[in-house]
């Protein structure tokens, strides 16, 4: 009991330390630069307290739930030795978590507005909705593909930099052919795909796979899945923009 309390206080303290830079920045700009009092001070402080409690709970849950399950599944798949099911799982994880991602929904809707303003699609609710849905499907599909490539890379031990640099070259080539109005959205879509729950899970999966296979180093081979998941959407979204 005493140990649990100590660990709770320790995580609370660490979360508090994570938050104070934000408070300093806001206080400095509000008081020194903008010369204004901080509005709703009580609301701000109680909100900050909630953030601290939330971060502490999140870290606790990470160590108890997300990390262990990601690793135990990686070990189980490695023992089972079925490549098909491992790849099917990777695709499902990438596609399933991305299609529901709120940040992606927001960006897709904004992109539909841009496309309508540029005259690429008709400026009707229906046309914009189908454009946004198409964009979301494209990004989700590309994240699924990314995890398949990433997992294959861990299994085979391919060096990560060749694949990433190859992807960069793909992005650069696509940039020259893609319509101008899609480029900003495509570049941004790489950043919004990986949510707070997907990242720990995918990291644990990669590290678990790399440590359960002989000859792989979890540090060199285990990371990199998220990098693929943020690279492929750029290429696929530009492709999507060219096909419209």
């Amino acid at each position: 009991m005493k140990n649990t309390l100590i660990s709770i206080f320790k995580t609370l303290y660490l979360s508090l330390r994570d938050l104070y830079p934000i408070i300093l920045v806001i206080a400095f700009f509000q008081i020194v630069v903008l010369h204004q009092p901080i509005p709703h001070l009580f609301q701000l402080l109680s909100g900050a307290l909630l953030v601290v409690i939330g971060l502490s709970l999140f870290v606790q849950g990470l160590q108890m739930g997300l990390f262990p399950i990601g690793e135990s599944m990686a070990y189980a798949f490695a023992r089972k030795g079925s490549l098909f099911w491992l790849l099917a799982f990777s695709f499902a994880l990438g596609f399933g978590t991305t299609i529901a991602e709120p940040a992606l929904i927001a960006v897709a809707n904004k992109a539909a507005d841009v496309a309508a303003a540029a005259g690429v699609v008709a400026n009707t609710v229906q046309a914009k909705e189908s454009y946004a849905d198409g964009l979301r499907l494209t990004v989700a599909f590309s994240v699924g593909i990314a995890l398949i490539i990433g997992v294959l890379r861990i299994l085979r031990g391919w060096p990560v930099q060749y694949l990433i640099v190859g992807g960069y070259i793909g992005v650069v080539i696509m940039t020259f052919f893609a319509p101008d109005d899609i480029i900003g959205i495509a570049y941004d879509s790489g950043g919004v795909t990986t949510s707070t729950i997907t990242v720990p899970l995918v990291t644990a999966l990669g590290v678990g796979l790399a440590s359960s296979i002989k000859g792989r180093n979890p540090m060199v081979d285990g990371f990199g899945l998220i990098a693929f998941a943020s690279l492929t959407p750029m290429i696929f979204v530009m492709l999507f923009g060219m096909m419209r």
């Binding site: 509005p39 909630l50 849950g61 739930g65 599944m73 399933g96 940039t175």
Partner: protein, 260 residues
């Protein structure tokens, strides 16, 4: 007070729906394909519950405290009245340095929100564990946060100056490729990953507000066409800063290895 609980409840329900596909996929594969009992099932389920509750508290706190003031400040700092003193003073031609407070704000908000980003914390914890303590949790997070700070500041400069986005992104890629040849091998994959984890819960809404606010107030920019791209900056520059961090601390790591 009841308003607060309603908000907490509605955000918890939203988060639960985000977590749901992940839970279905994990347990679906666990029971149908792997067909083995989950080790420490009770603890894992409790962990999921903690993650769900933690994220909900986190989001309610952000919505209550950080987002309103962050968006308000982004609006105030990009307001021509603040930059030129009054509406009559707005010149026909402006100099990029007129927006200096915007760049400084962009860098500091980028740095501080990245430090609080939960998914970066998760990756840093894992990297610390896997590298047997060679990579410090705090060091990695500061390196990533510095990259985001520089990236977003440069991104706001790009919006003000109106230069094409792809010049910067392709230039960044060239730096990443060159650095890859010289960086220690163990950091490369982690550095690439740190680009993707910087931008989620905390950073995206604030940075988007800043980008759109800036693009809609700077003369000659369009919110729709120039407002995008800040997130791309925030996910490219951490790769560079993490590799630089590894190169700088390489000698120390080599020392550690020799001692072992």
């Amino acid at each position: 007070m009841s308003h607060f609980f309603l908000q907490l409840l509605s955000i918890t329900v939203d988060t639960a729906f985000d977590v749901l596909p992940i839970v279905i996929i994990i347990f679906g594969f666990q029971f149908l394909v792997i067909r083995q009992p989950v080790p420490h099932l009770k603890q894992v389920l409790l962990g999921f519950l903690y993650v769900l509750l933690g994220l909900s508290f986190f989001l309610v706190g952000l919505k209550q405290a950080l987002f309103p003031i962050g968006e308000l400040m982004a609006k105030q700092l990009t307001d021509p009245v603040f930059i030129y003193g009054s509406l009559e003073n707005i010149p026909r031609f402006f100099h990029w340095s007129d927006y200096r407070w915007v760049y400084i704000f962009a860098a500091s908000i980028g740095f501080s929100t990245t430090i609080a980003e939960p998914s970066l914390l998760a990756v840093a914890l894992k990297a610390h564990e896997v590298s047997a303590g060679t990579i410090s949790v705090w060091g990695l997070r500061v390196a990533v946060a510095l990259g985001v700070a520089f990236g977003i500041a440069l991104g706001t400069y790009r919006i003000v100056s109106g230069t094409p986005l792809y010049y910067y992104i392709i230039g960044g890629y060239v730096i990443v490729i060159v650095q890859t040849f010289f960086a220690p091998k163990m950091i490369v994959a982690l550095a690439y990953d740190s680009g993707g984890v910087t931008t989620s819960t905390v950073t995206v809404p604030l940075v988007t507000a800043l980008g759109l606010g800036l693009a809609s107030t700077v003369p000659g920019r369009s919110a729709l066409l120039d407002g995008f791209g800040l997130i791309a900056f925030a996910s490219l520059f951490p790769i560079i800063s993490v590799m630089a961090y590894a190169q700088l601390s390489q000698s120390r790591w080599l020392g550690n290895v020799k001692k072992k």
